[in-house]
């Protein structure tokens, strides 16, 4: 199971770049965040196949999701729905695609599967074999639950 910083960095860097280019926002890492365990959220699961395989689960709490959707659409949204969750699904897809491009530059050839998007209160299971990356920006908090194995 990969906890190697070098292979996780592409996901952090890709998130940082996408937040900057799409939302004009900087992100920073957090130690933990209780909000992620209590609030309704959009969960986007993206499977990786290839030299590294497993899943990356992006957890966007409701408040973060609605702030992102408002920033991008210029419209107020009060609830999580198919439109807002799909927007976040595509953002996670873009972040993962960019991370996989960076991994290929490190000689790890991988591909991503289409995102699986759910709205609910569940969080990714913590089983000690994955890494949770808690992130903060002016739109709120989010978490990336990274669980990858190396196949080469």
């Amino acid at each position: 199971m990969i906890k190697d910083k070098l292979k996780l960095t592409p996901f952090y860097d890709a998130t940082k770049d996408v937040f900057k280019s799409m939302l004009d926002l900087d992100i920073s890492k957090l130690e933990n965040n209780e909000k992620l365990n209590s609030e309704e959220n959009v969960k986007v699961e993206i499977a990786l196949i290839g030299d590294l395989s497993g899943t990356v689960i992006y957890n966007f709490p409701k408040s973060t999701t609605l702030n992102i959707v408002k920033t991008l659409s210029g419209m107020e949204f009060n609830d999580l729905d198919d439109f807002s969750s799909s927007m976040l699904g595509e953002m996670a897809n873009i972040i993962s695609g960019n991370a996989v491009t960076s991994l290929s530059e490190m000689n790890y050839k991988c591909d991503i599967k289409p995102p699986k998007i759910t709205i609910g209160n569940s969080n990714a299971d913590k089983d000690g074999s994955s890494v949770d990356m808690f992130l903060h920006s002016n739109v709120g908090e989010m978490c990336e639950h990274i669980c990858l194995s190396q196949n080469i």
């Binding site: 280019s21 799909s86 927007m87 976040l88 595509e90 953002m91």
Partner: protein, 138 residues
């Protein structure tokens, strides 16, 4: 307003078409969010989708003609991104027509469309603008 000046990449024809696309997507999302029954929204949704189908193709073609004219080195990669997204739009439009424009699918399509479009403009198209600026054509 959905369109932001920061989306301008400095190529007048492309900026004009991008603004038109954003304006149409905005109308599309507004139509989706109207406080009325789904069936009442359908005429506007069908109209906007029909426009988008044609305009996305027209815009991508114009952009690629421009890229060939300026000898843009990433034209092939850019073309593949356009091709993939055009196929996605066409597939969605065909399945919506077949399935009677289901609300869930159309809402999901609109969310993805907006996020994809913003990222495409601020990341992929911006590279073209940077090339033009570097090459002194802008």
């Amino acid at each position: 307003m959905m369109w932001k000046d920061k989306y301008k990449i400095g190529i007048p024809l492309v900026d004009k078409q991008h603004k038109e696309l954003f304006d149409r997507v905005e109308k599309f999302v507004e139509a989706l969010r109207k406080d009325e029954e789904w069936d009442a929204k359908l005429p506007e949704i069908k109209k906007t989708l029909a426009f988008m189908k044609n305009y996305v193709v027209e815009h991508f073609d114009d952009e690629e003609v421009y890229q060939r004219k300026i000898g843009y080195p990433l034209q092939k990669e850019h073309h593949l991104i356009h091709k993939d997204f055009t196929e996605y739009v066409m597939q969605c439009a065909a399945s919506f027509e077949k399935e009677g424009y289901p609300e869930k699918g159309v809402q999901q399509f609109a969310g993805k469309l907006l996020a994809w479009l913003i990222n495409h403009v601020v990341a992929t198209d911006l590279k073209m603008s940077e090339f033009v600026k570097k090459d002194g054509d802008l």
